[in-house]
């Protein structure tokens, strides 16, 4: 289905504020709605598309050529493509890579992902930057012929991302276990709020047996795992303000003094569990080039981001909580957004930490991989205390 631009069916992209881009059909023909967000990564579209955090979002790729390396069976971050729509400027006609098994567009089509191509993606990105993330619809084939007022109505009737509880929609139904690679040193419960495959993989490479549990797991479900050393909350889609169940579980974890590590959505939930608020960013952070400073070492790491919400915590001072002293451990140097939290006991020992970005990368740089070591150290220290 590698059609050159000229012979593709027309398609139209409509934003909730009425701005419209006319382009051509890409991927599956039909219509879709979601929250329009842009991603500035120049590599890793396969990982992006299969990242559950993009559930219900229409992703605009700022990189003009997409699909160049095709699609393989190795790089998926979950069982399926999650984005609700895909916007690219110049789709590859022919993929070229020794690992490629089929084209991106075939994969999009077979998974029913509606996309659009041949639009000014930079203009769309600038629009989203200035006006903020908003709802969007893509209409191709028959759907594109509907009158534009009707299209706008379809878009505005779609649910908003603010207030959306989506973790249950992307989470695993059943607990599964990712065994440790080599000698098993620890057992960790990873609550799947939209987990990416690379996270349990990297943990397992650190000697962790990972029990991936559903989002609706209770504290007792988690603590019933034999030999539990720590708890992990994954990344995932939706508004953290809706995740009352998960926050409740996390407060129990913290109260029990179980070592905790969170990524992305997991960071927002730690923030809420500690009593901080969360808020929606104007247009979010989505890319793999974001500078984050680890305030504990003063070093800058280049990191992968995918978040539309953030934690509202003070940068300039520590906060006393019922679980210990919380402070902002990581900050994005572009805009001072909170990118990590840590919790210390009265003795100053680290008991829980989380980051807003993606140390598991995939896609993205590996600069923050040290956080898995930090988690291992936390587990070790706790084992020693327990022993």
């Amino acid at each position: 289905m590698n059609t050159p631009l000229a012979t593709r069916a027309p398609a139209v992209l409509v934003l909730e504020d009425g701005r419209t881009f006319t382009g051509r059909a890409y991927g599956h023909r039909g219509e879709t709605v979601g929250e329009a967000v842009f991603c500035t990564a120049m590599t890793g579209y396969q990982e992006t598309l299969t990242d559950p955090s993009y559930h219900r979002q229409v992703v605009v790729m700022t990189s003009p050529h997409v699909g160049n390396t095709g699609w393989n069976d190795e790089d998926d971050e979950s069982s399926r493509i999650w984005v609700s729509g895909y916007v690219v400027r110049d789709p590859a006609i022919r993929p070229s890579n020794w690992r490629s098994q089929r084209t991106l567009e075939d994969e999009l089509d077979s998974q029913g992902v509606v996309g659009i191509c041949d639009i000014d993606t930079r203009a769309l990105t600038r629009h989203l930057r200035e006006r903020g993330a908003m709802r969007v619809g893509i209409f191709s084939g028959e759907a594109a012929r509907m009158p534009s007022a009707h299209l706008v109505e379809r878009v505005t009737s779609a649910p908003l991302m603010k207030g959306a509880a989506l973790a249950q929609e992307v989470s695993t139904d059943e607990t599964y276990v990712v065994p440790a690679v080599g000698e098993k040193r620890f057992t960790v419960a990873a609550v799947d709020l939209g987990i990416k495959a690379m996270t349990p993989q990297l943990m397992s490479e650190h000697g962790i047996e990972v029990h991936v549990v559903p989002a609706d797991a209770s504290f007792s479900d988690i603590t019933s795992i034999e030999g539990l050393d720590g708890v992990f909350f994954s990344n995932g889609p939706g508004d953290p303000a809706t995740a009352d169940h998960e926050v409740g579980v996390l407060r129990e974890v913290l109260a029990a003094g179980i070592p905790f590590f969170g990524i992305c959505f997991g960071n927002q939930l730690l923030g809420r569990a500690l009593g901080f608020g969360t808020y929606k960013l104007k247009y979010g952070h989505r890319g793999i080039n974001q500078p984050v400073m680890d305030r504990t070492t003063g070093k800058v790491e280049v990191t992968a981001h995918n978040h539309g919400f953030a934690v509202d915590a003070p940068l300039d001072k520590d906060t006393d909580t019922e679980f210990g002293t919380a402070r902002v451990s990581h900050v994005c140097l572009n805009d001072d957004v909170v990118e990590g939290l840590e919790l210390r006991s009265d003795a100053g020992e680290l008991t829980a930490f989380s980051v807003q970005y993606h140390p598991e990368a995939a896609a993205g740089p590996h600069d923050a991989a040290y956080l898995f070591d930090r988690f291992v150290t936390l587990l070790e220290n706790n084992q020693k205390v327990g022993a």
Partner: protein, 1105 residues
Amino acid sequence: MPKRDDIKSVLVIGSGPIVIGQACEFDYSGTQACRVLREEGVRVILVNSNPATIMTDPEFADATYIEPITPEVVEKIIEKERPDAVLATLGGQTALNCAIALHDNGVLEKYNAPLIGANVEAIQLGEDRQLFKGVVERCGAESARSVICHTMDEVLAGADELGYPVVVRPSFTMGGLGSGFAHDEAELRRMAGAGLQASPTTEVLLEESILGWKEYELEVMRDHADNVVVVCSIENLDPMGVHTGDSITVAPALTLTDREYQRLRDVGIAIIREVGVDTGGCNIQFAINPRDGRIIVIEMNPRVSRSSALASKATGFPIAKIAAKMAIGYTLDEVPNDITQETPASFEPSLDYVVVKVPRFAFEKFPAADDTLTTTMKSVGEAMSIGRNFAEAMQKALRSIERKESSFHWRGQTPTRDEALELLRVAARPTDGRIITVQQAMRGGATVEETHAATGIDPWFLDQIELINDIAHEVGESPELTPDLLRLAKRHGFSDAQLSELRGMPESVVRGVRHALGVRPVFKTVDTCAAEFAARTPYHYSSYDEENEVAPREREAVIILGSGPNRIGQGVEFDYSCVHASFALRDAGYDTIMVNCNPETVSTDYDTSSRLYFEPLTLEDVLEVYHAEKQAGPIAGVIVQLGGQTPLGLARALKEAGVPIVGTSPEAIDLAEDRGAFGRVLAEAKLPAPKHGTAYSAAEALAVAQDIGYPVLVRPSYVLGGRGMEIVYDDDTLVTYVERATHASPEHPVLVDRFLDDAIEIDVDVLYDGTEMYLGGVMEHIEEAGIHSGDSACALPPATLGNAEIELVRESARKLAEGIGVVGLMNVQFALAQDILYVLEANPRASRTVPFVAKATGVALANAASRIMLGATIAQLREEGVLPPSGDGGTLPPHAPISVKEAVLPFHRFRTTDGTMVDSLLGPEMRSTGEVMGIDSTFGRAFGKSQLAAYGGLPTTGTVFVSVANRDKRAMLFPVSRLVDLGFTIVATSGTADVLRRNGIPADVIRKITEREGDAEASDARSIGQLVLDGEIAMVINTPTGQSARADGYAIRAAANTADVPLITTVQEFAAAVQAIEALRRGDLTVTSLQEHALALDLMQVAGR
């Protein structure tokens, strides 16, 4: 961590003359560094022998030394200036090699001036191939299997182990000099022999062949807090086997998955850490096997490079500027990103466009040279372009090269299948223009698979070429050019010229239709962040897309057209003038708008002008920029006279399209170029010119020659750099020239001039405002007329001309400026023969010598010129202090220092197909790539410095070989006898030796290369060629003779080039060299900064004010 407070002064080492492999990208990086350091309050001491650079302008450093970049000279500067640190990572391999020498001989330690950026250990780890292999291994990555060799025996044994073909790489040479593939033992012996010679450490590396693999580069930066970012990934379209400087390259990498890219990134970061580059940028090159993804690390440069200049322009992330900040202590997160101003530099740019770089070659200047592209860099320049997709960027880059044959085309019959396969066989050998051969083969039906198999070019790129061919086919076949089709073609980079060919209608009609349909490009912004943050810097490129980002403006703007890719005859000198115009006009209250496509230059730094358009310099592209800017605000005019022939060639068409040209009018430009019209100007001004005529055919040329007499100088009209110019002595050669060497036609006649033997050539640069003239400087050539002025050494003030002659020159130039109607700059070349001053040519534009004149006299000519073009008068500029209050470059005081400009030639870069050197004779066709300047109190010392800077310097003792043409024998006697007085031993071929002995000068006879062994008279069994190669000759004097002796002369010159022995090919230069040797022997070289010279000269008369 903020700025270090222990560094109050820094010595910045520049890169010297422009040579192949080391061009004006180091002017760009050095200029940025100097600016940054001065902004930070650091005293900047600069050494660079290249006067054509922006960085050597006195205002960019506190002390600017235009002196040879040799360890001895730089030590003198260090001794005098006592810098706190030395920054050598921004001046290419020249600076790095000099720094290592200064370390090795203890100078840096003695004066407590440590290197900042990269230390010596890091430089050696990065540059020494064996050590670097260890680095790669420690980083958990792979190098190509290889063997280090110091002797030919080791080389042969190594090749047996690795198998042919093997790669030969000499250590510590720049631009991959001497590298290549050896397919058999004969090739290996030749290449490894030359490589051992070229390597300062007599070391070559043999390596397993990874020919045809994918090639990538990463530009990596690190600060002293160990923060590391990858600024840019670059993918070579030409696979492994072609030097990256000669490859078409693309940014960002387009055919890697994230896993593979992150692996490169991890390895790259591990390497910069392991090598220990403390701060700054480095470039790491990788090869990837397209079949299984095996990654091999090829090399790293622990310094900024050509690729980092490209990466800076491609991303908007100024690597050199930030490297300079890192060097004095800042960390990446402390430095703001210039473009967004709100976010820090500690990030990795994201591109929402595609960048393509295409090299420009000069093989036409070296017809004997093998044009196969190898791992030795041969290109002389490059063009970069930016588009919203690969097809658009590729097509824009190809037309930026400014050659008709450089763009994809669909002329003539579509190749048949057989022809297509034949084209693929041709394309298997990488050459200049291979991409066009590929496009033609695919046009003829060669499939992506077949083309990939033949060339190794990644199928993704080939698929894009197929797409371009498909669109061309549709445009050609469609019954009408519909708006949709037009848009589709423009979106894929088709020019109006290409569409005009496809549709069989004039380009202007295509443009008219396009404009009528409203199909125009928009201008996007290079913002480092793919629009994630607002850009504050207007750095634009065109694209056929929806939204235009050009902001409205209120101030009147001047558009300056740059000079495009560097080529022989049009290089950094023109960029110098454009940049100066931009600075001067910004100061005068205008918004300046630069249009250029050369990524190596200062003009394409987004900091230089109010706005930058990175665009091809074609009529279509310039008209679109003009249109966009006219929508944005008022335009005072367009400057075409500073960027060389490229913008000048557009002048008339721009004016016809209604674009206001400021300065000398297009009609006046034509007047100077048109022989007949120019003749009338000369006649009216009563100025003599050599007899001449214009011929449209061989027969006419013969008639002209008969009339004016031989020898004649012949050339095509409208050329720069003496392209195709020759001195012809007889009818047969003349006919051959006209019929073969050129394509004489009604549009392109051949100019035939009487050639003046034994004349002194004089060059002047003047400013003219319509009534008054300012004589910038008078340059006396050291070589006689007939050697292209760009290749000739010259002295300013003229070493042997008197005041009367200078006044004659002044008056003649004034009459010409008036007669032509110059407003701005003009360059005139005169020949003085038997007391008659002949006008050879006048060019109403900035010349190659403008920066040299500016440096030698301390007056910023280009600044003044740009102001004159916009209406200022010379009187006004004198008052403002842009020009001196009185006097000019023709009235320099007697104590003025003498500046000598010497050309630097690229002969040792080229080999013929059988591996021998190409000849190194000078002629009327320009072949130098760059220049150096020597400045000192006397001619001899200045000339000596120029030779030292150009190639390592003249000998002060030893054996000199002399072999001169008959006509030069009388002129050689005095200088040779001086050499004998100075203690040199003379050897000569028998004819020359006879003449010397008859004049009482002792000389040993030496066998010519073509003479048989056993000559009774010969003092040595070896031929002169062998003696030179054996290092027993300190200097070679060889002036060319007639055809018969040419072969021998060639062999001697080739030997001298191979052994890097000073080679002098004219008697005038010989005489100058002897003067210089005397000066060198008399005393130590001393160093003086331009600022000190200016103070002593006080042309600006600051002392009196």
